[in-house]
Protein backbone atom coordinates (compact mmCIF):
# COMPACT_ATOMS: atom_id res chain seq x y z
CA UNK A 1 0.00 0.00 0.00
CA UNK A 2 2.94 2.29 0.77
CA UNK A 3 4.01 2.15 -2.89
CA UNK A 4 0.46 2.76 -4.09
CA UNK A 5 0.26 5.93 -1.96
CA UNK A 6 3.70 7.07 -3.20
CA UNK A 7 2.46 6.49 -6.77
CA UNK A 8 -0.68 8.50 -6.05
CA UNK A 9 1.38 11.43 -4.71
CA UNK A 10 3.50 11.39 -7.88
CA UNK A 11 0.27 11.22 -9.92
CA UNK A 12 -1.03 14.32 -8.08
CA UNK A 13 2.12 16.21 -9.01
CA UNK A 14 1.84 15.15 -12.67
CA UNK A 15 -1.89 15.94 -12.78
CA UNK A 16 -1.14 19.35 -11.26
CA UNK A 17 0.57 20.39 -14.50
CA UNK A 18 -2.78 20.33 -16.43
CA UNK A 19 -1.37 21.87 -19.63
CA UNK A 20 -4.47 20.33 -21.23
CA UNK A 21 -6.75 23.02 -19.71
CA UNK A 22 -4.17 25.80 -19.87
CA UNK A 23 -6.04 27.97 -22.38
CA UNK A 24 -9.48 26.35 -22.17
CA UNK A 25 -12.12 28.95 -21.31
CA UNK A 26 -15.01 26.52 -20.75
CA UNK A 27 -17.16 27.35 -17.72
CA UNK A 28 -18.22 24.54 -15.39
CA UNK A 29 -21.75 25.02 -13.96
CA UNK A 30 -21.80 28.26 -15.94
CA UNK A 31 -19.53 30.18 -13.55
CA UNK A 32 -16.38 28.25 -12.72
CA UNK A 33 -13.54 28.44 -15.27
CA UNK A 34 -12.49 24.86 -16.02
CA UNK A 35 -8.87 25.58 -15.11
CA UNK A 36 -10.01 26.59 -11.63
CA UNK A 37 -12.57 23.79 -11.26
CA UNK A 38 -9.92 21.23 -12.23
CA UNK A 39 -7.48 22.46 -9.60
CA UNK A 40 -10.24 22.66 -6.98
CA UNK A 41 -10.99 18.99 -7.72
CA UNK A 42 -7.28 18.27 -7.42
CA UNK A 43 -7.33 19.74 -3.90
CA UNK A 44 -10.12 17.32 -2.97
CA UNK A 45 -8.17 14.44 -4.49
CA UNK A 46 -5.12 15.50 -2.50
CA UNK A 47 -7.21 15.25 0.68
CA UNK A 48 -8.18 11.71 -0.36
CA UNK A 49 -4.58 10.68 -1.05
CA UNK A 50 -3.43 12.05 2.31
CA UNK A 51 -6.23 10.16 4.01
CA UNK A 52 -4.87 6.95 2.48
CA UNK A 53 -1.36 7.94 3.59
CA UNK A 54 -2.55 8.52 7.16
CA UNK A 55 -4.41 5.19 7.18
CA UNK A 56 -1.87 2.95 5.51
CA UNK A 57 1.57 4.60 5.68
CA UNK A 58 1.59 6.12 9.14
CA UNK A 59 4.93 5.80 11.00
CA UNK A 60 3.41 4.01 14.00
CA UNK A 61 6.87 3.51 15.48
CA UNK A 62 6.88 7.22 16.45
CA UNK A 63 3.76 6.84 18.59
CA UNK A 64 4.98 3.56 20.04
CA UNK A 65 8.36 5.01 20.94
CA UNK A 66 6.73 8.08 22.49
CA UNK A 67 4.42 6.02 24.68
CA UNK A 68 7.35 3.83 25.71
CA UNK A 69 9.47 6.86 26.58
CA UNK A 70 6.69 8.69 28.38
CA UNK A 71 6.52 5.66 30.66
CA UNK A 72 10.28 5.49 31.17
CA UNK A 73 10.99 9.21 31.22
CA UNK A 74 12.65 11.36 28.59
CA UNK A 75 16.15 10.26 27.55
CA UNK A 76 19.01 12.58 28.29
Amino acid sequence: MKYVVCGLVVALIVLHQDFWFRDDSTLVFGFMPIGLAYHAALSLEAGGVWLLAALFCWPHWVDEEESRLSGDGRPS
Binding site: V9, L12, I13, H16, Q17, D18, F19, F21, R22, D23, D24, S25, L27, F29, G30, F31, M32, P33, G35, L36, H39, A40, L42, S43, L44, A46, G47, W50, L51, A53, A54, W58, P59, W61, V62, D63, E65, E66, L69, R74, P75
Partner: protein
Protein backbone atom coordinates in the same frame (compact mmCIF):
# COMPACT_ATOMS: atom_id res chain seq x y z
CA UNK B 1 -18.39 59.42 -0.76
CA UNK B 2 -19.47 59.38 2.88
CA UNK B 3 -19.04 56.06 4.65
CA UNK B 4 -20.38 54.59 7.82
CA UNK B 5 -18.74 54.16 11.19
CA UNK B 6 -20.47 50.80 11.69
CA UNK B 7 -17.53 48.77 10.26
CA UNK B 8 -15.20 50.64 12.63
CA UNK B 9 -17.33 49.67 15.63
CA UNK B 10 -17.53 46.03 14.49
CA UNK B 11 -13.77 45.82 13.93
CA UNK B 12 -13.14 47.33 17.38
CA UNK B 13 -15.58 44.85 18.94
CA UNK B 14 -13.86 41.94 17.24
CA UNK B 15 -10.43 43.07 18.38
CA UNK B 16 -11.72 43.45 21.96
CA UNK B 17 -13.14 39.91 21.80
CA UNK B 18 -9.78 38.60 20.65
CA UNK B 19 -8.00 40.37 23.47
CA UNK B 20 -10.43 38.80 25.92
CA UNK B 21 -9.71 35.35 24.50
CA UNK B 22 -5.96 35.92 24.81
CA UNK B 23 -6.32 37.04 28.41
CA UNK B 24 -8.59 34.09 29.20
CA UNK B 25 -6.08 31.59 27.82
CA UNK B 26 -3.33 33.27 29.84
CA UNK B 27 -5.14 32.09 32.99
CA UNK B 28 -4.18 28.54 31.99
CA UNK B 29 -0.51 29.53 31.69
CA UNK B 30 1.61 27.15 33.78
CA UNK B 31 4.42 29.66 34.32
CA UNK B 32 7.16 27.70 32.50
CA UNK B 33 9.00 28.71 29.34
CA UNK B 34 8.01 25.35 27.78
CA UNK B 35 4.36 26.18 28.33
CA UNK B 36 4.79 29.73 27.00
CA UNK B 37 6.65 28.57 23.88
CA UNK B 38 5.13 25.19 22.96
CA UNK B 39 2.05 24.91 25.22
CA UNK B 40 3.66 21.94 27.02
CA UNK B 41 3.05 19.68 23.96
CA UNK B 42 -0.64 19.53 24.85
CA UNK B 43 -2.45 20.48 21.63
CA UNK B 44 -4.82 17.88 20.15
CA UNK B 45 -5.72 17.21 16.48
CA UNK B 46 -8.47 19.82 16.04
CA UNK B 47 -6.59 22.73 17.62
CA UNK B 48 -3.46 21.63 15.74
CA UNK B 49 -5.32 21.63 12.42
CA UNK B 50 -6.85 25.03 13.02
CA UNK B 51 -3.69 26.65 14.37
CA UNK B 52 -1.46 25.23 11.62
CA UNK B 53 -3.93 26.20 8.92
CA UNK B 54 -4.51 29.65 10.41
CA UNK B 55 -0.77 30.19 10.62
CA UNK B 56 -0.13 29.03 7.07
CA UNK B 57 -2.96 31.04 5.54
CA UNK B 58 -1.95 34.64 5.86
CA UNK B 59 -2.87 37.92 4.29
CA UNK B 60 -1.18 36.26 1.35
CA UNK B 61 -4.06 33.76 1.07
CA UNK B 62 -6.92 36.28 1.21
CA UNK B 63 -5.59 39.69 0.22
CA UNK B 64 -2.72 38.41 -1.95
CA UNK B 65 -4.71 35.74 -3.80
CA UNK B 66 -7.62 38.04 -4.69
CA UNK B 67 -5.19 40.81 -5.69
CA UNK B 68 -3.11 38.47 -7.82
CA UNK B 69 -6.21 36.95 -9.47
CA UNK B 70 -7.30 40.52 -10.25
CA UNK B 71 -3.96 41.14 -11.99
CA UNK B 72 -3.17 37.74 -13.52
CA UNK B 73 -6.33 35.56 -13.53
CA UNK B 74 -7.24 32.12 -12.21
CA UNK B 75 -3.73 30.67 -12.64
CA UNK B 76 -2.93 31.85 -9.13
CA UNK B 77 -4.95 28.96 -7.67
CA UNK B 78 -2.94 26.29 -9.46
CA UNK B 79 0.33 28.08 -8.83
CA UNK B 80 -0.02 28.28 -5.08
CA UNK B 81 -3.23 26.75 -3.71
CA UNK B 82 -3.58 23.30 -5.27
CA UNK B 83 0.19 22.89 -5.21
CA UNK B 84 0.17 23.76 -1.50
CA UNK B 85 -2.56 21.20 -0.89
CA UNK B 86 -0.21 18.54 -2.21
CA UNK B 87 3.14 19.84 -0.97
CA UNK B 88 2.19 21.20 2.49
CA UNK B 89 0.62 17.94 3.60
CA UNK B 90 3.60 16.03 2.17
CA UNK B 91 5.93 18.21 4.25
CA UNK B 92 3.80 17.81 7.40
CA UNK B 93 3.96 14.05 6.83
CA UNK B 94 7.63 13.53 6.03
CA UNK B 95 9.19 16.44 7.96
CA UNK B 96 6.69 17.62 10.58
CA UNK B 97 6.08 14.29 12.31
CA UNK B 98 9.82 13.52 12.50
CA UNK B 99 10.70 16.96 13.85
CA UNK B 100 7.93 16.72 16.41
CA UNK B 101 9.41 13.38 17.49
CA UNK B 102 12.92 14.82 17.89
CA UNK B 103 11.58 17.95 19.61
CA UNK B 104 9.53 16.00 22.13
CA UNK B 105 12.29 13.50 22.76
CA UNK B 106 15.21 15.89 23.15
CA UNK B 107 13.39 19.00 24.38
CA UNK B 108 13.92 21.28 21.38
CA UNK B 109 11.81 24.41 21.10
CA UNK B 110 13.43 25.93 17.99
CA UNK B 111 14.83 24.68 14.70
CA UNK B 112 18.27 25.96 15.60
CA UNK B 113 18.40 23.79 18.73
CA UNK B 114 17.69 20.78 16.51
CA UNK B 115 20.29 21.72 13.89
CA UNK B 116 22.97 22.46 16.50
CA UNK B 117 22.47 19.04 18.02
CA UNK B 118 22.09 17.12 14.77
CA UNK B 119 25.15 18.77 13.18
CA UNK B 120 27.27 18.79 16.36
CA UNK B 121 28.04 22.40 15.63
CA UNK B 122 27.24 25.68 17.37
CA UNK B 123 28.16 28.05 14.52
CA UNK B 124 25.23 26.86 12.40
CA UNK B 125 22.99 28.67 14.88
CA UNK B 126 24.76 31.98 14.37
CA UNK B 127 24.40 31.55 10.61
CA UNK B 128 20.79 30.40 10.59
CA UNK B 129 19.44 32.83 13.18
CA UNK B 130 19.84 36.04 11.10
CA UNK B 131 18.70 34.23 7.93
CA UNK B 132 15.50 32.92 9.51
CA UNK B 133 14.75 36.24 11.22
CA UNK B 134 15.41 38.14 7.96
CA UNK B 135 12.99 35.88 6.12
CA UNK B 136 10.27 36.00 8.78
CA UNK B 137 10.30 39.80 8.97
CA UNK B 138 9.13 40.33 5.34
CA UNK B 139 6.51 37.65 5.98
CA UNK B 140 5.38 39.66 9.01
CA UNK B 141 5.40 42.78 6.89
CA UNK B 142 2.91 41.20 4.50
CA UNK B 143 0.44 40.94 7.35
CA UNK B 144 1.10 44.32 8.90
CA UNK B 145 0.90 46.17 5.56
CA UNK B 146 -2.23 44.29 4.48
CA UNK B 147 -4.05 44.97 7.73
CA UNK B 148 -3.55 48.72 7.36
CA UNK B 149 -4.58 48.64 3.69
CA UNK B 150 -7.72 46.59 4.36
CA UNK B 151 -8.89 48.71 7.30
CA UNK B 152 -8.32 51.89 5.31
CA UNK B 153 -10.14 50.47 2.26
CA UNK B 154 -13.20 49.56 4.30
CA UNK B 155 -13.41 52.74 6.37
CA UNK B 156 -12.80 55.33 3.65
CA UNK B 157 -15.34 58.11 3.97
CA UNK B 158 -16.37 57.13 7.50
CA UNK B 159 -14.69 60.13 9.14
CA UNK B 160 -15.71 62.73 6.55
CA UNK B 161 -18.43 64.26 8.74
CA UNK B 162 -15.80 64.79 11.43
CA UNK B 163 -13.16 66.15 8.99
CA UNK B 164 -10.72 63.53 10.23
CA UNK B 165 -8.04 61.71 8.22
CA UNK B 166 -8.56 63.64 4.97
CA UNK B 167 -5.16 62.39 3.74
CA UNK B 168 -6.41 58.80 4.01
CA UNK B 169 -9.66 59.54 2.13
CA UNK B 170 -11.39 60.04 5.50
CA UNK B 171 -10.73 56.43 6.49
CA UNK B 172 -8.53 55.00 9.23
CA UNK B 173 -5.02 55.75 7.92
CA UNK B 174 -3.01 52.59 7.07
CA UNK B 175 -0.36 53.51 9.66
CA UNK B 176 -3.00 53.63 12.39
CA UNK B 177 -4.77 50.43 11.30
CA UNK B 178 -1.47 48.55 11.21
CA UNK B 179 -0.49 49.97 14.59
CA UNK B 180 -3.74 48.84 16.24
CA UNK B 181 -3.43 45.34 14.77
CA UNK B 182 0.19 45.08 15.94
CA UNK B 183 -0.81 46.14 19.45
CA UNK B 184 -3.72 43.69 19.69
CA UNK B 185 -1.62 40.74 18.48
CA UNK B 186 1.21 41.81 20.76
CA UNK B 187 -1.13 41.86 23.75
CA UNK B 188 -2.54 38.36 23.41
CA UNK B 189 0.81 36.83 22.42
CA UNK B 190 2.49 38.66 25.29
CA UNK B 191 0.07 37.32 27.89
CA UNK B 192 -1.16 34.07 26.35
CA UNK B 193 2.02 32.68 24.75
CA UNK B 194 1.58 29.61 22.54
CA UNK B 195 -1.62 28.48 24.23
CA UNK B 196 -3.20 31.90 23.66
CA UNK B 197 -1.91 31.85 20.10
CA UNK B 198 -3.36 28.38 19.41
CA UNK B 199 -6.75 29.37 20.85
CA UNK B 200 -6.81 32.68 19.02
CA UNK B 201 -5.75 30.98 15.78
CA UNK B 202 -8.52 28.42 16.07
CA UNK B 203 -11.13 31.07 16.74
CA UNK B 204 -9.80 33.28 13.94
CA UNK B 205 -9.54 30.43 11.44
CA UNK B 206 -13.20 29.58 12.00
CA UNK B 207 -14.06 33.29 11.64
CA UNK B 208 -12.21 33.84 8.39
CA UNK B 209 -13.37 30.60 6.79
CA UNK B 210 -17.03 31.20 7.60
CA UNK B 211 -16.96 34.90 6.74
CA UNK B 212 -14.95 34.22 3.58
CA UNK B 213 -17.69 31.95 2.25
CA UNK B 214 -20.38 34.46 3.31
CA UNK B 215 -18.48 37.25 1.51
CA UNK B 216 -18.26 35.19 -1.61
CA UNK B 217 -22.00 34.56 -1.81
CA UNK B 218 -22.90 38.13 -0.83
CA UNK B 219 -20.67 39.57 -3.52
CA UNK B 220 -21.91 37.14 -6.16
CA UNK B 221 -25.50 38.00 -5.26
CA UNK B 222 -24.80 41.72 -5.70
CA UNK B 223 -23.28 40.98 -9.10
CA UNK B 224 -26.42 39.17 -10.27
CA UNK B 225 -25.39 35.65 -9.28
CA UNK B 226 -22.40 33.40 -9.84
CA UNK B 227 -22.97 32.96 -13.56
CA UNK B 228 -23.56 36.63 -14.23
CA UNK B 229 -20.43 37.64 -12.31
CA UNK B 230 -18.23 35.27 -14.32
CA UNK B 231 -19.93 36.10 -17.63
CA UNK B 232 -18.89 39.72 -17.15
CA UNK B 233 -15.27 38.53 -16.96
CA UNK B 234 -15.71 36.38 -20.06
CA UNK B 235 -16.93 39.47 -21.93
CA UNK B 236 -14.39 42.01 -20.69
CA UNK B 237 -11.31 40.08 -19.55
CA UNK B 238 -11.42 36.58 -21.10
CA UNK B 239 -7.68 36.20 -20.45
CA UNK B 240 -8.46 36.05 -16.71
CA UNK B 241 -10.44 32.80 -16.92
CA UNK B 242 -7.51 30.79 -18.26
CA UNK B 243 -3.89 30.66 -17.23
CA UNK B 244 -2.55 31.09 -20.75
CA UNK B 245 -0.58 34.14 -19.59
CA UNK B 246 1.58 32.03 -17.29
CA UNK B 247 4.29 29.97 -19.00
CA UNK B 248 4.21 26.21 -18.33
CA UNK B 249 7.78 26.32 -17.02
CA UNK B 250 6.95 29.09 -14.54
CA UNK B 251 3.83 27.18 -13.48
CA UNK B 252 5.82 23.98 -12.97
CA UNK B 253 8.59 25.64 -11.02
CA UNK B 254 6.08 27.27 -8.66
CA UNK B 255 5.73 23.77 -7.17
CA UNK B 256 8.91 24.39 -5.20
CA UNK B 257 7.53 27.48 -3.43
CA UNK B 258 5.21 25.63 -0.97
CA UNK B 259 8.19 23.61 0.29
CA UNK B 260 8.86 26.74 2.33
CA UNK B 261 6.58 25.39 5.10
CA UNK B 262 9.29 22.85 5.91
CA UNK B 263 11.54 25.64 7.15
CA UNK B 264 9.05 28.14 8.59
CA UNK B 265 10.27 28.57 12.17
CA UNK B 266 6.77 29.46 13.38
CA UNK B 267 5.34 26.29 11.89
CA UNK B 268 8.10 24.22 13.49
CA UNK B 269 7.00 25.65 16.82
CA UNK B 270 3.36 24.79 16.12
CA UNK B 271 4.34 21.22 15.22
CA UNK B 272 6.01 20.92 18.60
CA UNK B 273 2.78 21.81 20.39
CA UNK B 274 1.19 18.51 19.25
CA UNK B 275 0.17 16.12 21.98
CA UNK B 276 1.13 13.06 19.92
CA UNK B 277 2.32 12.13 16.44
CA UNK B 278 -1.22 10.98 15.63
CA UNK B 279 -2.42 14.54 16.18
CA UNK B 280 -0.87 15.30 12.79
CA UNK B 281 -3.26 13.04 10.88
CA UNK B 282 -6.18 15.46 10.82
CA UNK B 283 -4.08 18.48 9.67
CA UNK B 284 -2.45 16.37 6.94
CA UNK B 285 -5.78 15.19 5.52
CA UNK B 286 -7.87 18.34 5.97
CA UNK B 287 -5.29 20.94 4.91
CA UNK B 288 -5.88 20.67 1.09
CA UNK B 289 -9.64 20.83 1.59
CA UNK B 290 -9.38 23.88 3.83
CA UNK B 291 -7.18 25.53 1.20
CA UNK B 292 -9.91 24.89 -1.36
CA UNK B 293 -12.55 26.48 0.90
CA UNK B 294 -10.50 29.65 1.39
CA UNK B 295 -8.78 30.13 -1.96
CA UNK B 296 -11.48 29.35 -4.55
CA UNK B 297 -13.82 32.14 -3.35
CA UNK B 298 -10.92 34.61 -3.15
CA UNK B 299 -9.70 33.83 -6.66
CA UNK B 300 -13.21 34.13 -8.09
CA UNK B 301 -13.77 37.45 -6.30
CA UNK B 302 -10.41 38.60 -7.67
CA UNK B 303 -11.31 37.87 -11.30
CA UNK B 304 -14.84 39.25 -10.85
CA UNK B 305 -13.25 42.48 -9.62
CA UNK B 306 -11.74 43.06 -13.08
CA UNK B 307 -15.17 43.42 -14.69
CA UNK B 308 -17.77 44.02 -11.97
CA UNK B 309 -19.92 47.05 -12.74
CA UNK B 310 -22.43 48.91 -10.57
CA UNK B 311 -24.54 51.66 -12.13
CA UNK B 312 -22.38 51.62 -15.24
CA UNK B 313 -19.13 52.09 -13.34
CA UNK B 314 -16.39 49.62 -12.57
CA UNK B 315 -16.45 48.58 -8.91
CA UNK B 316 -12.67 48.38 -8.79
CA UNK B 317 -10.61 50.85 -10.86
CA UNK B 318 -8.28 49.01 -13.28
CA UNK B 319 -5.21 50.56 -11.70
CA UNK B 320 -6.29 49.85 -8.11
CA UNK B 321 -3.70 48.64 -5.62
CA UNK B 322 -4.00 44.82 -5.83
CA UNK B 323 -3.68 44.61 -2.03
CA UNK B 324 -6.90 46.66 -1.74
CA UNK B 325 -9.05 44.73 -4.25
CA UNK B 326 -10.78 42.51 -1.69
CA UNK B 327 -11.48 45.44 0.62
CA UNK B 328 -12.93 47.52 -2.22
CA UNK B 329 -15.18 44.67 -3.39
CA UNK B 330 -16.43 44.07 0.14
CA UNK B 331 -17.05 47.72 0.82
CA UNK B 332 -18.81 48.47 -2.45
CA UNK B 333 -20.88 45.30 -2.63
CA UNK B 334 -21.83 44.53 0.96
CA UNK B 335 -23.65 46.74 3.47
CA UNK B 336 -21.76 48.44 6.31
CA UNK B 337 -22.65 45.75 8.87
CA UNK B 338 -21.49 42.91 6.69
CA UNK B 339 -18.46 44.93 5.61
CA UNK B 340 -17.47 45.24 9.25
CA UNK B 341 -17.81 41.51 9.86
CA UNK B 342 -16.05 40.61 6.63
CA UNK B 343 -13.19 42.93 7.46
CA UNK B 344 -12.96 41.21 10.84
CA UNK B 345 -12.65 37.93 8.91
CA UNK B 346 -9.82 39.28 6.75
CA UNK B 347 -8.06 40.64 9.81
CA UNK B 348 -8.54 37.27 11.51
CA UNK B 349 -6.58 35.58 8.72
CA UNK B 350 -3.84 38.17 8.99
CA UNK B 351 -3.55 38.08 12.77
CA UNK B 352 -3.61 34.29 12.98
CA UNK B 353 -0.26 34.31 11.23
CA UNK B 354 1.24 37.40 12.82
CA UNK B 355 0.84 35.98 16.34
CA UNK B 356 2.76 32.77 15.60
CA UNK B 357 5.51 34.66 13.81
CA UNK B 358 5.97 37.13 16.67
CA UNK B 359 6.01 34.32 19.21
CA UNK B 360 8.51 32.24 17.27
CA UNK B 361 10.94 35.15 16.97
CA UNK B 362 10.71 35.72 20.72
CA UNK B 363 11.32 32.02 21.32
CA UNK B 364 14.29 31.93 18.96
CA UNK B 365 15.92 34.95 20.55
CA UNK B 366 15.47 33.54 24.05
CA UNK B 367 16.55 29.97 23.37
CA UNK B 368 19.04 30.31 20.52
CA UNK B 369 20.84 33.44 21.65
CA UNK B 370 20.26 34.38 25.30
CA UNK B 371 19.98 30.96 26.94
CA UNK B 372 22.45 29.31 24.60
CA UNK B 373 25.23 31.81 25.19
CA UNK B 374 24.47 33.00 28.73
CA UNK B 375 23.55 29.54 30.03
CA UNK B 376 20.02 28.27 30.63
CA UNK B 377 20.71 27.50 34.29
CA UNK B 378 21.40 31.14 35.09
CA UNK B 379 17.80 32.17 34.62
CA UNK B 380 14.52 31.31 36.27
CA UNK B 381 11.51 30.24 34.20
CA UNK B 382 9.99 33.66 34.81
CA UNK B 383 13.08 35.38 33.43
CA UNK B 384 13.09 33.16 30.33
CA UNK B 385 9.49 34.12 29.60
CA UNK B 386 10.39 37.78 30.19
CA UNK B 387 13.19 37.59 27.60
CA UNK B 388 10.81 36.11 25.03
CA UNK B 389 8.26 38.84 25.73
CA UNK B 390 10.83 41.62 25.48
CA UNK B 391 12.08 40.40 22.13
CA UNK B 392 8.52 40.05 20.86
CA UNK B 393 7.91 43.72 21.72
CA UNK B 394 11.13 44.72 19.93
CA UNK B 395 10.34 42.73 16.79
CA UNK B 396 6.79 44.12 16.64
CA UNK B 397 8.19 47.65 16.85
CA UNK B 398 10.78 46.92 14.15
CA UNK B 399 8.26 45.34 11.80
CA UNK B 400 5.84 48.18 12.29
CA UNK B 401 8.62 50.65 11.46
CA UNK B 402 9.41 48.77 8.23
CA UNK B 403 5.73 48.72 7.27
CA UNK B 404 5.74 52.53 7.05
CA UNK B 405 8.21 52.40 4.14
CA UNK B 406 7.08 52.22 0.48
CA UNK B 407 5.38 48.86 -0.15
CA UNK B 408 5.56 46.12 -2.77
CA UNK B 409 2.72 43.91 -3.96
CA UNK B 410 1.90 41.53 -1.14
CA UNK B 411 2.10 38.59 -3.52
CA UNK B 412 5.57 39.48 -4.81
CA UNK B 413 6.92 40.08 -1.33
CA UNK B 414 5.49 36.73 -0.23
CA UNK B 415 6.98 34.79 -3.12
CA UNK B 416 10.49 36.09 -2.39
CA UNK B 417 10.12 35.28 1.26
CA UNK B 418 8.80 31.76 0.55
CA UNK B 419 11.57 31.20 -2.02
CA UNK B 420 14.17 31.78 0.68
CA UNK B 421 12.54 29.28 3.05
CA UNK B 422 12.03 26.74 0.25
CA UNK B 423 15.71 26.92 -0.62
CA UNK B 424 16.56 25.88 2.95
CA UNK B 425 14.32 22.83 2.58
CA UNK B 426 17.16 20.51 1.38
CA UNK B 427 18.84 21.24 4.71
CA UNK B 428 15.97 20.02 6.88
CA UNK B 429 15.30 16.95 4.71
CA UNK B 430 18.97 15.99 4.74
CA UNK B 431 19.14 16.51 8.51
CA UNK B 432 16.31 14.03 8.98
CA UNK B 433 17.00 11.45 6.29
CA UNK B 434 20.67 11.64 5.25
CA UNK B 435 23.23 10.35 7.73
CA UNK B 436 26.13 11.77 5.73
CA UNK B 437 25.06 15.42 6.16
CA UNK B 438 27.85 17.40 7.85
CA UNK B 439 27.96 20.79 9.54
CA UNK B 440 30.17 22.14 6.75
CA UNK B 441 27.67 20.93 4.14
CA UNK B 442 24.82 22.56 6.04
CA UNK B 443 26.68 25.86 6.36
CA UNK B 444 27.66 25.80 2.68
CA UNK B 445 23.99 25.35 1.85
CA UNK B 446 22.90 28.31 3.99
CA UNK B 447 25.66 30.58 2.64
CA UNK B 448 24.69 29.60 -0.93
CA UNK B 449 21.08 30.54 -0.22
CA UNK B 450 22.17 33.93 1.13
CA UNK B 451 24.36 34.70 -1.90
CA UNK B 452 22.09 33.39 -4.68
CA UNK B 453 18.85 34.70 -3.13
CA UNK B 454 20.47 38.11 -2.56
CA UNK B 455 21.79 38.29 -6.12
CA UNK B 456 18.49 37.37 -7.76
CA UNK B 457 16.46 39.59 -5.42
CA UNK B 458 18.69 42.49 -6.44
CA UNK B 459 18.21 41.64 -10.13
CA UNK B 460 14.44 41.73 -9.62
CA UNK B 461 14.76 45.37 -8.51
CA UNK B 462 14.31 44.20 -4.89
CA UNK B 463 10.98 42.62 -5.68
CA UNK B 464 9.90 45.60 -7.78
CA UNK B 465 9.52 43.42 -10.89
CA UNK B 466 6.66 41.01 -10.12
CA UNK B 467 7.26 39.05 -13.34
CA UNK B 468 10.95 38.41 -12.74
CA UNK B 469 12.16 34.95 -13.76
CA UNK B 470 15.65 33.49 -14.10
CA UNK B 471 16.23 31.33 -17.23
CA UNK B 472 12.45 31.36 -17.67
CA UNK B 473 11.91 29.76 -14.29
CA UNK B 474 10.94 31.01 -10.86
CA UNK B 475 14.09 32.18 -9.00
CA UNK B 476 13.39 29.56 -6.32
CA UNK B 477 14.60 26.82 -8.70
CA UNK B 478 18.08 28.31 -9.03
CA UNK B 479 18.38 29.04 -5.32
CA UNK B 480 17.03 25.61 -4.32
CA UNK B 481 19.29 23.72 -6.75
CA UNK B 482 22.40 25.68 -5.73
CA UNK B 483 21.63 25.08 -2.07
CA UNK B 484 21.13 21.32 -2.59
CA UNK B 485 24.30 20.94 -4.68
CA UNK B 486 26.42 22.83 -2.13
CA UNK B 487 24.95 20.75 0.70
CA UNK B 488 25.71 17.41 -0.97
CA UNK B 489 29.15 18.24 -2.36
CA UNK B 490 30.56 19.80 0.79
CA UNK B 491 29.07 17.08 3.00
CA UNK B 492 30.71 14.38 0.89
CA UNK B 493 34.19 15.90 1.14
CA UNK B 494 34.05 16.66 4.88
CA UNK B 495 34.22 14.38 7.92
CA UNK B 496 30.95 12.52 8.61
CA UNK B 497 29.07 13.03 11.89
CA UNK B 498 29.97 10.92 14.93
CA UNK B 499 28.47 7.49 15.54
CA UNK B 500 26.74 8.85 18.65
CA UNK B 501 24.87 11.43 16.58
CA UNK B 502 23.94 8.89 13.95
CA UNK B 503 22.56 6.60 16.65
CA UNK B 504 20.69 9.46 18.28
CA UNK B 505 18.86 10.56 15.13
CA UNK B 506 18.69 7.44 12.97
CA UNK B 507 17.70 4.65 15.27
CA UNK B 508 14.27 2.97 15.14
CA UNK B 509 12.33 3.66 11.98
CA UNK B 510 13.96 6.99 11.23
CA UNK B 511 16.91 5.75 9.17
CA UNK B 512 17.12 5.37 5.40
Amino acid sequence: MTGSLIPVYIICGYLALLLGLGLLSSRLFRGTSEDYMVASHSIGPFLLLMSIFGTTMTAFALVGSSGEAFKEGIGVYGMLASSSGIVHSLVFFVVGVRLWHFGKRYGYMTQIEFFRDRLENQTIGLLLFPVLVSLVVPYLLIGVISSGTVINGITQGAFEPYHLFAGAKFGVPPWLGSLVICCVVLMYVFFGGMRGTAWANTFQTIVFMVLGVVTFFMISQKLGGLQSATQAVVSRHPDHITRAGISQLTFFTYLLVPLSVGMFPHLFQHWLTARSASSFKLPIVAHPIFILIVWVPCVLVGIWATSAMIDGHLVVPPKANPNAVLAIMVKRLAGPVLSGFLTAGILAAIMSSLDSQFLCLGTMFTNDIVLHYAGADRFSERQKVAFARLFIVAIVALTYGFSLMPTRRVFTLGIWCFSGFSSLFPLVVAAIYWKRLTAAGAMASVVTVIVVWGTLFRQSAYGGNPHYTFLGMMPVVTIFASSAVALVLISLITRPPSEATIRKFFQAGASV
